[in-house]
Symmetry: C2
């Protein structure tokens, strides 16, 4: 401890340089003097003649970023200038480059796209909308941080989707459901008068990776956020977000007309209810002219919804959509619904509920679908809904917060999971069937909290970053995102970037292996979902029990979703389902998602199912050990504060990976009446020990309303 303290004192004068707060926006001075000179020659001034709020922010970001990267101020100019500089502006405001753009055939860039190049000694950043300038400015800075030669600078980009949205599951009391990085960064009590600097830094971090919307409240919603005083608070946040091109969204509680309005019903077809929502939406737009819209979780996990009134989800969604449409707002209606029935297969429910409604939603409704059919498991097959709603705009909902993926302590590079989901082809027999081709945007459940480094686990920053980058361009390889993040976060040194990239690449398969290999799913402990609980079978609802999802007996394990079982596979296009229906051709990582198999079922590699399960649990542990070794090798190449933070979390992960392995193998070994296979260590403690562990204050507080 003394060593630790003396180290802190030695670094005390640069007290917060490396606490991780700066994220990937570090802009440390470029070490390569020659390159710095090259950059300086091309950036002797910044010229921006516009007056728009977002454009001014773009200019300000460039100015501040360049000052730090180059170690000196860059002049802001207007009018004609000597020397070379950065020209920043809308295409229509830069006639001097009209010819160039024409020659290069730079097509329409939309509201958010940009063209960025090095031309005749100048740096050009040209867009057709102000937000394009902002995203282009961050792109340019990112390239300079990575020491890109100017001659290679030639970028024309437009985002794949209009909707790239963070979802905060933050409650008005400051707690965060499934939040593992402290508490909510929104201080609702002190808003609107007190503006925390963090709000600004949050908006700019989002803009820097292309995120253009934020739902600041929990999907388990509180009607109070629509009360006048709370709308004033929300408006203050929107004012902070606006210069960064970030739209504010809220969650709408379907029963708000009862709770806030004093109406006797929230029936979506009731004229008084319709009028109440119209009026409420007008109140919102009076305060927030660019309000984005609402997310709704209805008739799911005790949230109110249209079903109480015998209405469909479409009728419920359209109620809000009609109120929002005149103002340009949207409704993101969550498909994460499942009924309170004791039989059946929860896997099937969203599909069964929503596919009959395809075509019934208003144009400004987007159906927000979690990547998998159950609930953010470490690995899930993608939801069949992505191939089943051709007439409904879809949003893909991804988790960033890692409720089921190691929460605040495990290093798990989620870009790997995003990549897998986005590129899953649900119609392998014809083109256009990948998930990224069937959606109109991406929503990510935020991992951000009051932790100084934003995400608690420093590597959680990589997930925020990856979410933004893949929402912008969903076919970017995960490895590329990892490398980019590593370079921006730890410095553009191969000796650092390569090991960090390797750690990230190995981490997702590791986590799936030590938690839920071979398609095991939903076997986490109750409530907080922290740690293993495959033995749990005493919860009120059948499908809240881990046991429901594996049904292990002495003979077999797994959930039969083929024709002999729930036949959930029928919900997929045939060309996809065919492969998964046969345990011989089903990818082994999804095996127990779809098949109930004997423990001795032989796998392709010669192992039985039971042997392979044990081997994969062990492989997960081994991989975490390798990640620790890779990280340890960086000791003197990363500042001590961040190095120690990550080392401490990796130690937790290494211990908890063993906990997962030992608890799950102890349980399945007991149920299957089979010994732990050779080559895999026997669990250190007996099963009873693991069953009795309890963590009443594991983080991720549930809402109280």
């Amino acid at each position: 401890m003394l060593r630790f303290i003396l180290l802190f004192l030695l670094t005390a004068s640069a007290l917060h340089a490396d606490d991780g707060y700066r994220l990937w926006l570090r802009y440390d001075r470029i070490a390569n003097g020659e390159l710095r000179d090259e950059y300086r020659r091309a950036a002797s001034f910044i010229r921006y003649d516009g007056q728009g709020e977002v454009g001014m922010t773009a200019r300000g970001e460039l100015e501040a970023g360049l000052r730090d990267l180059l170690g000196e101020e860059v002049a802001q100019v207007s009018g004609e200038n000597a020397g070379h500089g950065i020209y920043l502006g809308l295409r229509t405001a830069l006639p001097r480059f009209a010819r160039y753009l024409q020659d290069k055939a730079v097509a329409a860039l939309g509201d958010e796209g940009y063209h960025l190049t090095y031309h005749d000694g100048d740096l050009l950043l040209i867009a057709d909308g102000e937000r394009g300038l902002l995203y282009g400015a961050f792109h340019l800075l990112r390239l300079l941080q990575q020491e890109t030669p100017l001659s290679e600078l030639n970028v024309t980009e437009r985002p794949a989707y209009d909707y790239r949205i963070l979802n905060h599951w933050d409650n008005l009391d400051g707690t965060v459901e499934r939040g593992y990085a402290g508490f909510s960064i929104w201080n609702w009590h002190q808003l609107p008068e007190v503006i925390d600097r963090r709000y600004v830094d949050y908006a700019r971090a989002n803009a820097s990776v292309g995120i253009n919307g934020a739902v600041v409240t929990n999907v388990n919603a509180n009607a109070l956020v629509f009360r006048d005083d709370y709308l004033d608070k929300a408006a203050a946040l929107a004012d902070v977000f606006r210069p960064y091109g970030l739209k504010l969204y809220l969650t709408a509680r379907f029963s708000a007309p009862l709770e806030l309005g004093g109406l006797p019903t929230a029936d979506p077809l009731d004229p008084a209810v319709i009028a109440w929502w119209q009026h409420k939406v007008e109140e919102i737009y009076a305060r927030i002219p660019d309000f984005g819209g609402v997310v709704v979780k209805a008739n799911s996990e005790r949230q109110p919804g249209p079903r109480e009134y015998g209405r469909t989800h479409a009728e419920g969604a359209n109620l809000l959509a009609d109120a929002l449409a005149p103002h340009g707002g949207i409704v993101m209606w969550r498909a994460f619904v499942y009924t309170d029935r004791k039989d059946g297969d929860r896997f099937r429910e969203a599909y069964d509920e929503f596919t009959p409604l395809d075509g019934q939603f208003r144009d400004n409704v987007l159906l927000q679908i979690k990547n998998g059919p159950i609930d953010f498991q470490p690995r899930e097959p993608v939801s069949p809904l992505f191939a089943a709603m051709p007439q409904t705009p879809l949003l893909l909902e991804l988790q960033i917060t890692k409720e089921y993926l190691g929460q605040g302590t495990h290093l798990v590079g989620l870009a790997s999971m995003y990549e897998e989901v986005l590129t899953t082809d649900l119609r392998p027999d014809r083109p256009g069937g990948q998930v990224h081709e069937s959606i109109r945007g991406v929503a990510g459940v935020s991992n951000i909290g009051t932790a100084r480094n934003w995400t608690g686990n420093l590597f959680g920053q990589a997930d925020w970053y990856a979410f933004g980058r893949l929402s912008w361009q969903p076919t970017t390889p995960a490895r590329e995102v990892f490398r980019e993040w590593a370079a921006l976060t730890f410095g553009n040194f191969p000796a650092v970037v390569e090991p960090v990239t390797q750690i990230l690449e190995r981490s997702y398969p590791a986590c799936v292996n030590y938690m839920t290999p071979l398609g095991l799913h939903h076997i986490m402990a109750t409530g907080h979902h922290y740690g293993p609980g495959p033995w749990v079978d005493d919860l009120e609802r059948a499908d809240w029990n881990p046991y429901y999802y594996h049904q292990a007996t002495a003979d077999s394990v797994g959930f039969d979703r083929t024709r002999t079982g729930s036949n959930a596979l029928e919900q997929y296009p045939l060309s996809f389902a065919r492969q998964y229906a046969d345990p011989e051709t089903c990818p082994s990582q999804f095996l127990l998602w779809f098949h109930r198999l004997p423990w001795d079922f032989p796998l392709a590699d010669g192992n039985t199912l039971w042997q392979e399960m044990a081997v994969r649990y062990q492989r997960g542990v081994d991989t975490v050990d390798e990640m620790q070794t890779l990280w340890a090798g960086l000791e003197n190449q990363i500042d001590p504060e961040r190095f120690d933070q990550v080392s401490q979390h990796l130690a937790v992960q290494a211990r908890e990976a063993r906990w997962w392995r030992d608890a799950c193998l102890a349980y399945f070994s007991a149920v299957s009446e089979r010994d732990i296979p050779e080559g895999v260590p026997r669990p250190v403690r007996d099963l009873e020990h693991y069953r009795e562990l309890d963590y009443p204050y594991a983080p991720g507080i549930r809402p109280r309303w």
Copy 2:
């Protein structure tokens, strides 16, 4: 907003220099070059030959502080050296100065005292215990920060008390009861493996102002903290605290033997209970050899205690004291108890309960008494217990967190209140009767949370600072503490220090005036105590109702605690009580604490009671406006980030002071059937408006167990 953002960007390269995290330990380079040279000549090296953990920390702090103050490294040496330097050591380890110390007749310095001087060109810091070196090092740095000439350096200090302890009301789930600076800084979930840098910075901040103990858990206690895994977590914190001379304490839940131990009783005389506690305490000391002891809130506000078993508080306290005594631990037993009876006067209860027990407590029990008899009101007469327990060691419990003093947004310099309490003379007829002379230590309910600047309101730092400094030397004038804090926090410039000191000096009387003038008390809104609620009269317990405390009617207002009423005054020494018993001589700020008076009662200044009440409410508002003006004058003399933080909070305070004034005057005007006196503005809204305001998520979360 754009201006705000561009300002942020302009200061982005020094991104966190001025976010307030550094507290009063800023150590900015001394601007006066001549003085810096003088310091440098006297500090060309630091010599410390000891090996103790705390001494090493002292040396490390000096080294880091001097490096920043002087702008260059100061060598660490051992053996003989050329030039002048800092000699740091225990008296026994510095024979070369034995003669000097003898000549100066430096008496025994105890474990924590020190002698600090400039002698023959060297700086001497000499102590009889290692903690003395640490406190002396911080004292030296503080003097240098204030640009003290070396020739004036001649300090011999010992703290007034052995116990200078922060009480955190932090829950294991990360919430803080009565916390207004975010959430708990203790991440119990990730302890013991993850050590947040903030833990170290917390320990050093405490040491720098002489605080030597921290109770890290809430007095509304959770037995779980005594479970093995939580004790490991606590031990990890104790390891961080130890090098800073800070002892760790926990809160003990009286029913822990039932909840954790599975015993059928927690009867303090039951042999199994006695054995359980002995064993539990041994488990603690096995992990934390210097564990400080426990705080207990028993039989108060639904906390369990010895009464359930027909035992006295003394029997309850002695149970724990006997278990702790062999290890040197103490029990701090809170006197904040009141029964659930509907009649009587809560003011009397602690005295009635505890005075019969005087002399029955073990030597290692300290009775921890809140400053006032009710509950941390803006201004309270001091508790009569301070003059009524001659055979019992007493601790004074003060609030730092401001539950009833504006919480997280109001600037209220609590040193004024501490000074008033500490110097109150309960026996004005003879010497030795001041509160500070009757106690053995001070406990302060912490205002620290996850807010980046620790205390949410930047000026809350001044209260933490003042608590430490006055615990060390309780007769230091508040004004001196304010000046010192202002200089350390904003720089040693008269143009800054003077206005900041004035703001602080005016703030406490302002708050009392706009909240509870003339001795009004406990008229805050229910539960969270945020804002005014004098009308509340529907709570389950009579003495939870504001109405109980003022009983305003058309004729009169106030609580009669003289002989014609509850006669609580009889609990005070006669010489004190005599002055307060007569409304003509009772200090006007305490009038309604002791007297029930007609609204037309004439006061010394010629006003009626009603007129004076209105005038004081208005004066409170006016003073906040003056504070705002003083602060606004500092705009270019304080960094923009901290300047804006404080400006925003002052705006809230100015609005809320008006809210208090208007709501209370509207209410008392209605009840008394009197118009608002001339010269005071009429409330903007009608009484109903103020009664209907509600704030369900005002911060300060109550425990859930």
